[in-house]
């Protein structure tokens, strides 16, 4: 019974996802990416365009992502603690 519901939901989701294939992909890129490719080398001096984007033009998002990774490593560090006895509180 569980699987029949799952397959029904999967059919509905698949209909929505596959109908997004009829959009227009594969065209040359629009506004922002044009600017990054044309002026990226002059302004940053890096040969790798992807690194120049995520460390120079959008470095604030990289700061947020480093914070998320730091918080998750800290969370694992705090959860799997081995205190004196078997029952930690909280």
């Amino acid at each position: 019974m569980n699987r029949i519901f799952a397959i029904l939901i999967l059919c509905v989701v698949a209909f929505f996802l596959f109908s997004s294939l009829n959009l227009d992909y594969g065209h040359p890129r629009g506004g922002q990416s044009n600017y990054y490719v044309e002026h990226g080398l002059k302004e940053t001096g890096a040969l790798n365009m992807v690194t120049a984007i995520y460390l120079n033009y959008r470095a604030y998002d990289t700061l947020g992502e480093a914070t998320v990774f730091f918080a998750s490593a800290l969370g694992v560090f705090m959860l799997l603690r081995k205190d004196r006895e078997g029952g930690e509180d909280g």
Binding site: L41, T44, G45, A46, L47, N48, V50, T51, A52, L55, N56, A59, Y60, T62, L63, A66, T67, F69, F70, A73, V76, F77, L80, K82
Partner: protein
């Protein structure tokens, strides 16, 4: 079936410094070829995980102590934020590029990108190693 075989142990011990070197190469050449801070950092952490799986956690702990790795991870996050603020003391915006650009195509070029790559690489590498240490030690010393 508890211990790993002899061939795997000897091969891993000989191969371990080259994996670390490859990770450091990917981190430092992030602005010239595919790679960067995150990719090199994951390879750096995977080398420590590989050594911990083969040799046992007690011997690996003697070489790569957990409190030092944790200290590197915390200090790396602090250095990232302080680098962002250090541009504001000179009049630029937060996290803007104020170092001079060198010759295009060499390693010391592109301003602040190399420094941020090194910081992120060490932070991600030691973070993955700390997650591995915690998961293994929680289950072993019951």
């Amino acid at each position: 079936m508890d211990r790993t075989s002899r061939i795997v142990k000897i091969f891993t011990r000989k191969l371990f410094p080259f994996i670390l070197l490859y990770g450091c190469y990917l981190i430092s050449h992030g602005h010239l070829s595919p790679g960067g801070g995150f990719q090199g950092g994951v390879i750096f952490g995977s080398a420590i995980i590989l050594l911990g799986l083969v040799e046992g956690i007690r011997i690996t702990e003697k070489r790569f102590r957990e409190d030092i790795l944790s200290l590197v991870k915390n200090v790396g996050m602090l250095i990232f934020i302080l680098t962002g603020f250090s541009g504001m003391f000179l009049g630029y915006a937060f996290l803007s590029d104020f170092l001079p650009q060198g010759n295009v195509g060499t390693v010391p070029s592109a301003g602040l990108i190399l420094f941020l790559n090194l910081t992120i690489g060490f932070m991600v590498g030691t973070g993955i190693a700390v997650i591995f240490y915690r998961t293994v030690r929680h289950g072993s010393e019951e």
